[in-house]
Symmetry: D2
Subunit: 341 residues, 4 copies
């Protein structure tokens, strides 16, 4: 059986990454691609690296024939999905890569995105799109809200540790670093090659939007409010993300919790003591690698978590969710080895 796939917002990096993945997926077929301002163009004009594929022409969302679609990926800006999901027929499953359905709380959505939540009636039925935590919910959901990239990088190590009581819920510091592709394809002076190259900087210090999701999920895992420090940084590389996390806890015990928790997960690898993960070793793959070190401060530990922000941090995880929603093998289309060097 072939699943018919629409990718809405195909002119951005997460949209293009979905096309790359779905194109070699054994049971999926791309039947529609949308990009409002570039409607009418061939994908090969917008992304020449996909020119060897036979793809539908880009169209406006309103021109997509959803009768031919089984599942739609929404790789659109925040604020669009609340209304859009009502216009898409109910039988079409949806993986939303925007933040519109990630937050359970309307106030939190307003605080972090400056918009009214337009679909609080639907929100409770939406699954949070980290399969390692919400596989069952994703399997039965019509809509899955794919997590943010920083959120996946941080939650994959932290949630099992908080749930197990292996780390303290206080005094968690998440120092996060991202490649430049996380900023998307929009034009801004700060993202020009000559500005971002050969430089490193923090941004969104103490007020990055992903904090809403972090607070929600960390607090849920801990069973108490968790307010972690979180500082994102921009690294002069295209892909890759690392969170360096400081918390109270015993490193060996924590590593053991994670190793057991993820023993059967195909995409999460807990490294042996002393091994250091590197972002370049997961590039282009759906892998997340985690290491735990004892801090020199007694009773404290340091966690390193790396992934590819466009893959396990976005489109790869979205496809993982789609596989689950469609009853497919979860790893289908996602067994690519990392591209190194």
């Amino acid at each position: 059986m072939t699943h018919r796939i629409a990718i809405l917002g195909a002119s951005g990096y997460t949209g293009a990454e979905l096309v790359r993945l779905v194109a070699t997926h054994p049971t999926m077929q791309i039947v529609a691609l949308s990009a409002d301002r570039k409607a009418g163009m061939a994908m090969a004009e917008v992304f020449p690296h996909l020119a060897h594929l036979d793809l539908p022409v880009l169209q406006k969302i309103e021109d997509v024939d959803f009768a031919q679609v089984d599942l739609a990926f929404l790789a659109l800006p925040h604020g669009v999905s609340h209304a859009l999901v009502r216009e898409i027929p109910d039988r079409v499953k949806i993986v939303d890569l925007s933040a519109d359905f990630r937050l359970r709380d309307a106030d939190a959505y307003r605080k972090w995105y400056g918009l009214e939540h337009g679909a609080m009636d639907i929100q409770p039925s939406v699954a949070f799109g980290i399969p390692e935590f919400y596989r069952a919910e994703i399997a039965r959901a019509r809509i899955t809200a794919n997590s943010g990239c920083y959120v996946a990088t941080s939650l994959l190590p932290l949630v099992p540790l908080l749930a197990a009581g292996a780390i303290g819920a206080e005094d968690i510091v998440i120092d996060a670093k991202s490649g430049v592709s996380g900023a998307g394809r929009g034009l801004s002076e700060a993202m020009l090659f000559s500005e971002a190259n050969e430089g490193f900087k923090s941004y969104g210090v103490a007020h990055h939007r992903h904090m809403g999701e972090l607070d929600q999920e960390l607090s849920k895992a801990a069973g108490q409010p968790v307010l972690a420090a979180f500082t994102p940084h921009l690294v002069p590389m295209t892909r890759g993300m690392q969170a360096t996390i400081y918390a109270a806890g015993d490193a060996d015990a924590a590593r053991k919790v994670l190793a057991e928790r993820y023993a059967d997960e195909p995409f999460v690898q807990v490294l042996a003591a002393g091994q250091v993960p590197q972002t370049q070793h997961v590039k282009g793959s759906n892998l997340n690698r985690i290491a735990v070190f004892a801090d020199r401060r007694p009773g404290r530990l340091i966690i390193l978590s790396v992934l590819d922000n466009l893959m396990k941090g976005a489109s790869g995880q979205a496809l993982q969710c789609a596989n689950i929603m469609l009853g497919e093998t979860e790893t289908a289309g996602l067994t690519l080895a990392p591209l190194f060097p």
Copy 2:
């Protein structure tokens, strides 16, 4: 049917790239990996990006059980293969990524590699490993000599044009540029990040080893001796290769020759007039993209040819050859879309 594959020289970049590709090949299985100085180590120690794969431990070549091998890739330094192929049982097919079997002429081999050719008796039966030119020879060969990366980049546009008389055999200039991975994993000061980063330079000016292969194949195509200028350059990026070629000829006619010649080839794309290929749009794929422009000098043209030096320039093309030798679909394991951005 599953083909049992050995990769000799698995601790270098072309070896690792073969592992990446073969790991997702539908009908191949890696049964042996060799790396003399790293024998006994797990591949995950040598290349952590492959840690998610279940791979044989690295061993010495002499410990490889070739009775279990159907095809061996030789990703070894120059000068090793001549003797080695005699020690491998005849029934094992071989794709040699070194230069040892590329040159038909013992003098040329001595000139460019400073070594005596140790297997001139075998040489005539070896296929030159560019499938677009030697598909039939590769299909029946026991040994295929994969071309050099600069050679593939230059020959793919030039051979059909010379053969068709669409360009002149005199006054060909090949100005070539390579990413740093082409230099391999060996230690040298010039390849340190701080030395190669943010810089551009020529190297091997007027005496690069790939000239022997270029001369041989260009002359054969032209039916007369061809001596092209050839200057390689080092670009501060990991993967990617471009040849900018200047020759006498009519651009529109030449583009037409190439478009017709490659119309049915899965990996070679001839761009429409005015389009410019970019190395980043073929990264990680087996694609070669070619464009032809009229020079402002009347009667002359400019050819742009790009590929990924580790893929169509090395391991990807080697796998393409192996597929042919084994009677497999030629594109098997090679349908990966480029990784961009």
Copy 3:
């Protein structure tokens, strides 16, 4: 004596580079900075790397008090200078970094820039701003037209060789490569970090604007029309430029001509036989390094010429010209060593 300097167009890269240089010049003082769209802003907001300097606030050009100015650098877009130089008092000397005064021929200006030349009456008195060729003219000119970056890189080796008859005027191929900063600070998708990083491409194939200048100056040097092939490429690094040039001639003789010609020049270095220049070894300096190799094609040679496109290719050379126009030591403010690594 202190020279009072205005830099018009200070919000672009060449403007900022002029500020960097003039700030440590022993006898110059910046008295005015203009940037029309950013008038009213502090330079530290536009270029934080200059925040440690005490600089005038950015203003509109029409608000600059030229009575307080001895020399103005015009780092403005093409098409502005023709009218502007008439509005600036005659006693103010001008170094124009745009292309507006580089071409002697109104038709050539129209062809390459699509504009009518608005100051042909002034053009004959303008000096072409490569001091190594036009030192006397620059010394007595009111206006100097700084050359383009590709032009300086190409002319510095080619002009003396053509003038001496050491190379042929036919069949010259200039394969040129530039860092991304040459594209300036304007917003375009192609110049985003994620697009330009880890990639290499040609652009402006056979129709780059710098050809007008090249034709003019090469023809003048040769005493006959010269039409060289010229292909620019974009290298994933911020600064640096190389021209790889192919021509007819004897390498040893040509190297000798250049070595003698530049023996007393402070900024041009002709390398010994066999040495290869690298762009990273001139970064941040006003140096140009040139090497000459014998081609393997008999009777032909290969020239390598490197410089920093923002320095000897733009602002450094502009300051060199300004020093001459003001009767200063030509190297004043330009003795910085390259920044490596």
Copy 4:
């Protein structure tokens, strides 16, 4: 008066950076350069970017005529200086860029460097080479021990805050990031371009050698033992360093303490509230930029501190110390603006 300068260890990056700086220093002259394994070579062979300078030939340390030297920079590996300083005549002042004289405690030296301290009798008279804290000691010292790069980056914000009681001495987290040049010019696979490019990783987690210095100086400033978490990371850029520091305290109060403390310092800039420093904006300069943000966790703050690891993190600061020791203007030779873009 001209100061005669020797640079011992001139074949490494910090040695070359000293040459770059001293070459344009108004009152210093380089009279000797040493590099044991490259003795007899010209500096231009070892570092072509310095080929335009008239420099002494590299020699072995034992061949240096210290009778002609006023001040020697020691840019040598750890473990060499203890014996060497006794062999250099007493009248020669010394700035040691190694770690040999940074630690006051022989046990700490043994712990972090695995060597016996060979000059504990001299140690008490050595000044710790951060001029902003030890200007008077440096002025009267024969030997100054230049601080490590991570140490300068961390101490410049932390010492005044601890001394003023503006932050707590407990629970300090220093998450530090360095460009690749910090690893020096030695050969290692991990520092090859193809390995380090397009990747990010931690290293030396919880056991980096700079911790000894950090502990010593932070504890001294706080008047109590301070044990901060410290994790270094490798960023794919050549130069630049950032420390992101988490501590207890009020951001506005802390920013005020730092702004007042550094109001008259030429090289330390405390940014206004909300401004973010970037490493690319201090590249090639001796500047350190610091910003303080309120953490979202009440009562906590986040400090960002950036500098160029080869300048204020090594050779620039060493020259600053040398200026003080020689009675020169402290900023002499160090007024270079950053190189951006």
